[in-house]
Symmetry: C2
Subunit: 233 residues, 2 copies
């Protein structure tokens, strides 16, 4: 059985937990002397022993013999999912699955045809909690950041930007060489406008196809990330 | 704007609609003289005109000049998704996304570690409605069948069987040559047992990897199908 995973702000010899993570230990029925896996959401994880546990606070002590290790389940380069705001609760599902599939970052986007024009603070915080929870469940040592929306024209990226587009001729495999960070961009329910696509291409983006079927806005990003996972990285 | 799509049992010169599809026409505010796209869920579609429309029944007449056409958005060979029964409403999401991603058939499976041991008739019918609805929305001319669960040992397949497995070394791309029908198999929340995997391998199945991260039982099948879509077929 694998160890329960607890997120801490930083790996240290002694790690003090706040009320929320302490409650989590209690829900798991762990006691003083129990061993958990701690991770900092930035790529490091280690095993730790519960050395104090009382209402609302707990202390974990790093297990000395277990070295911390990074990038166990991480992709060869950081992958950002740049995704338009979507209606209803669809972003929650996308963030959860994208975290499982290994993204380092989710960048929310404001686009021309989007039916959703903004995201409230509560909803953004919820997406961050979902990313943290999904990172723990999939035993990743990195918790993806979920970044506040930016206008498409203001999107910055490092390395390659690949845009899912129904009229594209090229495919993901044509670009996947892991020489640089990767950003995958997926549009809103109404698609990206011609001007938006042209603007991105003018800034060096490549368009990639996902077959002749019409995919929902919440399915396309998972197809992209699934295609990466299926290469075994 | 694309035509509204109406499923009929068979393409014919005159097609009588029952109460459910008639209500669908009314919800779409269509009237006599309106043109729709009809499809039979088996690969044929055509344009048709509404020639009668009253409470609970309607008549469609095939538009003569439009030839029926098949396999517009279909994969090069029929792809079956063989999926273990999953908890809660997860199968609904899997069937919906798998339909968008082009499967010809969903074969439900009874497996050893599954927490769900059966599926009720209502739930099965609901999955079939979801497949039909998703086929229409993604403008496919084939509605995937959703087949009653069979025991894993009784699963029959034609062509290749590829099984998503965390310890696999091979990848989907190693097998994807479209020379034969393809069945992709994905296990339950608890995974497949060693005996089950061995049994499938003994019958010629190949194991394929989806990277080192732990995927939920509802994410793995979409990663497999997304990987196919990303090849542009």
């Amino acid at each position: 059985m694998s160890l329960h995973r607890i997120q801490v702000s930083e790996l240290a010899q002694q790690m003090r937990l706040g009320p929320q993570e302490t409650r989590h230990l209690q829900v798991l029925r762990l006691r003083v002397g129990g061993v958990v896996q701690v991770f900092d959401g930035k790529g490091s994880q280690a095993s730790a022993t519960i050395t104090e546990l009382e209402e609302g606070r707990a202390l974990l002590t790093l297990t000395p013999e277990k070295a911390t290790h990074a990038r166990g389940a991480e992709l060869p380069q950081p992958v950002t999912l740049a995704i338009a705001l979507l209606k209803g609760d669809k972003l929650a599902d996308v963030v959860r699955s994208a975290t499982e599939l290994g993204v380092a970052r989710v960048q929310l986007l404001l686009t021309q045809h989007a039916e959703v024009r903004e995201i409230g603070t509560q909803k953004l915080l919820r997406l961050r909690r979902i990313a943290s929870e999904a990172a723990r469940q999939s035993e990743r040592s990195v918790t993806p950041e979920v970044l506040e929306p930016v206008r498409l024209a203001d999107l910055k990226w490092e390395g390659q930007l690949l845009v899912a587009h129904p009229e594209a001729q090229a495919h993901l495999a044509d670009f996947l060489d892991w020489q640089a960070p990767l950003t995958l961009l997926s549009g809103p329910e109404g698609g990206l406008s011609g001007a938006e696509v042209g603007g991105l291409q003018g800034r060096g983006a490549a368009l990639i196809a996902l077959g002749p079927r019409i995919l929902r806005a919440e399915t396309a990003p998972l197809a992209l990330l699934g295609a990466i996972a299926a290469t075994g990285v």
